[in-house]
Amino acid sequence: MPKIIVEIMPKQDLLDPQGKAVANALVRGGNKDISGVRIGKRIELHFDREVTEKDIEEAKKQAKEFLSNDVIEDVVAVTVEN
């Protein structure tokens, strides 16, 4: 199934409480070399047909305006998997 994949991460300089909690748990579990964890989102847009350039443009727009909140998040990648 062709799909567009949008990856979103919390902004680098902002607190990511989820990531912090997971990092603490990992370190407690013995993974001493892990210096940090950040947790983002992967969103898949599925198509029943080939993905076009126009779809990608639209996806990038939606990724910026709706799928992410640019106050707290960054869109780090918009990719296509056919």
């Binding site: 902002l14 607190l15 990511d16 409480p17 989820q18 909690a21 709706f66 909140n69 106050v71 707290i72």
Partner: protein, 231 residues
Amino acid sequence: MRIGVITYPGTLDDRDAQRAIRLAGGTPVPLWHADDDLKKVDAVVLPGGFSYGDYLRCGAIAAKAPATKEVIKKAQQGLPVLGICNGFQVLVESHLLPGGLIRNEHQHFICRDQKLRVENNQTDWTNLFEKDEEIIIPLKNGEGGYIATDDTIKMLEEENRVVFRYLELNPNGSMNDIAGLTNERGNVVGLMPHPEHAVEPGFGPDTAVATRSGIDGLKFFQSALKALVNS
């Protein structure tokens, strides 16, 4: 005075907000998210809850609803708008207020009677409070940590747009203990705590006098009515 309360799928505190408006002396008008007709209301409350299950981000999907789009338009023209909890999240997602709200620092949902300080009593929703008045109203959220860039925080502080600050305990890790904000004009206010749960003796927070007798939230709605009369 007619104050609208928008119900989105997943809204929970809409009936509570309507009750609060009624107890304050206003007429509550139920509004439906899919309807862009605001029924000529004089002010709007975006109530608490989990609109659209808080999926994607809290308030993000509700911010795109037809009724919200109307609210955004009218708010820019001065319509008093109060966003409570999820409603605050909608205001932030709609860019009527700056910043963002993220998962509580301690990772848990928290429900408690929260002490706040009223930092700005010049808004449409706080004009009946004294400046620096300390009030107690319930707080209940899972994603109430307020964050913004340093520049935004600086601007908010300098322009006196922090309306409420958490006292004694910061329940969610919000920057600068920020509990609520207003826009430049003072007609749009958003906060995480729930004034509509402190409007009726017997059903509010405990006070030093009697069980569940706190009604500090009532002044929010009375302030709006006063602002409307004066305008």
